[in-house]
């Protein structure tokens, strides 16, 4: 087991080192990406100011706590650009061109390979900006986090990341049956924009949708509550359970999908 883990770790380092080298070819992209992150952040803050209005509140959340939610959204968006988008959007073309055969023949878990093969450094500015915004908002809010609270918040953030990964993987994996859904992940990306604001800012019916159907609530609102030191046990447990179910679900889904894979031209 330990040896296996070491082998996967070594592969991961190789994967990311090579993709980093390939991506650094395009250095102008860094400037563009920095500008894009800053521009997007400024725009989001501006819209948040407009939404909050003179009361400075959104859905019962104070200005600073709403900023924490926005920070987590920015962080997760950066994570998406770094890992999810460069890897999972390629599954479709692997299925379409039949190159998935080569992946399946490798002596490594195919889900692992498909999920981690590439790494795009262009999401990093977003992740840094998100962390900075979270930190700044917490200091402004005067929140003092205990070690336990911080651990819970980090666990919930990781759970959010895993749920996000599962959603992406599920949609990308659907290409096994429907080759033409390559842009389904784009739909996901555009609807997850809803996570920029605390879930209570939405009408009640949408809150249900954003919790059960498209779990935006678990991605940003629940970790933000933990960071602000007001996590509720029910939501925290729900988030962790959802992450576990999603992760096991993608595994089962992938095994099921592989059984239906017939390769291109056959």
């Amino acid at each position: 087991m330990a040896q296996r883990l070491r082998r996967y770790w070594r592969s991961l380092r190789c994967f990311w080192a090579t993709s980093l080298e390939a991506e650094l070819e395009y250095q102008l992209n860094l400037v563009i990406e920095l500008l894009a992150v800053l521009g997007n952040l400024a725009g989001s803050l501006f819209v948040l100011v407009l939404l909050a209005g003179p009361t400075g509140e959104l859905g019962g959340w104070s200005w600073n706590s709403a900023l924490v939610v926005l920070g987590i959204y920015t962080l997760l968006d950066g994570f998406t650009s770094c890992v999810l988008q460069p890897n999972l959007s390629k599954i479709v073309s692997h299925v379409q061109n039949g190159t998935l055969d080569f992946v399946l023949l490798k002596p490594i878990d195919s889900q692992f390979w498909l999920s981690t093969r590439s790494f795009s450094p262009w999401g990093l500015p977003g992740m840094v900006a998100g962390l900075a915004l979270i930190g700044w908002a917490l200091v402004q809010n005067g929140t003092v986090l205990s070690a336990g609270g911080l651990a819970l918040a980090v666990a919930l953030l990781v759970a959010g990341g895993l749920i996000l990964y599962s959603l992406w993987f599920l949609l990308a994996g659907l290409s096994m049956w429907f080759v033409k859904v390559w842009n389904a992940t784009e739909v996901l990306r555009y609807t997850l924009v809803a996570g920029r604001y605390p879930i209570s800012a939405y009408p009640p019916a949408l809150r249900v949708v954003f919790t059960l159907v498209l779990p935006v609530a678990f991605l940003t609102t629940v970790p933000a509550e933990a960071l602000l030191g007001r996590a509720s046990a029910a939501w925290a447990l729900g988030s962790l359970a959802a992450a576990a179910i999603c992760l096991v679900g993608t595994r089962l889904f992938w095994q099921f999908a592989l059984r239906h894979y017939t390769s291109a031209s056959s």
Binding site: L58, A184, V187
Partner: protein, 280 residues
């Protein structure tokens, strides 16, 4: 007598033949592109679905303190964002992503040999895609109607007509603006990344995520100096039946197009001279 008659005939032909030729080309391009887009209707349905942003923003705005402070009525807000949703659906431009691929892989070469400016083909593809979108957008509007019957309204025929013309004008303006950036594909391998930058002011200054009336006066003035409010805010307000200066809005759209069109022609000419057709 017969002589002068044939002269009239010749003059008539001189005038008519180019028009007929343009009409034939347009019909051929549009019908072939429409058939092509119909083949990809599942994909287009998903693209249509990815345009839900104005509806999400409507949900947030409705319960926010900012809407009450800016003096929006729930009905006005609902109509504005629903109209913005429709405007966005029919003014989507993805030229740069296709063009980047075509320029990089040399697919542009055969098109350059044809006696037709290749950009017309892309324009026809966009128009055909809009036509394919119609049923999906209608379906989504029907969904909105089922969930919230009070939100939907029927604009008067005049309003609808002016609104559609404004949407198409906004589409042309967006197409021209993206053409400018797409021409950079001749110089850079990753010009599409630049489109991300162009998307930011479009998102925040056009009125797609917040009505311009909610902006602080200084920011609103700044936004109105850019072409972006003409792309969403103006057509959306027309459709929603709000009070807008129709003549000034169209003049604004025309002026921006008049500025961008010659620029894009210049860049195209300079770019094609640089184009080396990958693999040739």
């Amino acid at each position: 007598m017969a002589y002068s008659g044939s002269r009239v005939e010749m003059a008539r032909r001189k005038l008519l033949i180019p028009v007929q030729r343009a009409a034939r080309i347009a019909a051929a391009l549009l019908s072939s592109q429409y058939a092509y887009m119909l083949e990809y209707r599942a994909e287009i349905a998903l693209w249509a679905l990815s345009g839900v942003l104005p509806l999400i923003m409507l949900a947030v705005w409705q319960g926010s303190g900012g809407a009450a402070a800016a003096g929006f009525t729930p009905q006005g807000l609902g109509r504005y964002f629903l109209a913005a949703f429709v405007v966005r659906q029919f003014s989507v431009v993805w030229l740069i992503h296709v063009f980047e691929e075509d320029a990089l892989q040399g697919k542009l070469s055969p098109q350059l040999l044809q006696p037709l400016q290749p950009l017309w083909r892309y324009l026809a593809a966009h128009v055909a895609e809009q036509a394919t979108r119609v049923p999906f957008v209608a379906l989504m509007l029907a969904g909105v109607f089922v969930l919230k019957p009070g939100l939907l309204w029927l604009p008067s025929p005049g309003q609808l007509l002016v609104g559609i013309v404004a949407i198409q004008a906004a589409f042309v303006l967006r197409f021209l603006l993206q053409t400018l950036v797409a021409m950079l594909c001749f110089w850079s391998e990753r010009a599409a990344a630049l489109d991300r930058l162009l998307l930011i002011p479009y998102l925040f200054l056009s009125g797609l995520v917040a009505p311009l009336e909610s902006f602080p006066p200084a920011v609103r003035q700044l936004a109105l100096w850019t072409p972006f409010p003409a792309m969403v805010s103006f057509p959306a307000k027309l459709l929603a039946g709000e009070n807008v200066d129709v003549a000034a809005g169209f003049l604004n759209l025309t002026l921006w197009c008049a500025v961008l069109f010659p620029l894009s022609r210049l860049l195209w000419r300079a770019g094609v001279r640089r184009y080396s057709a990958m693999g040739a």
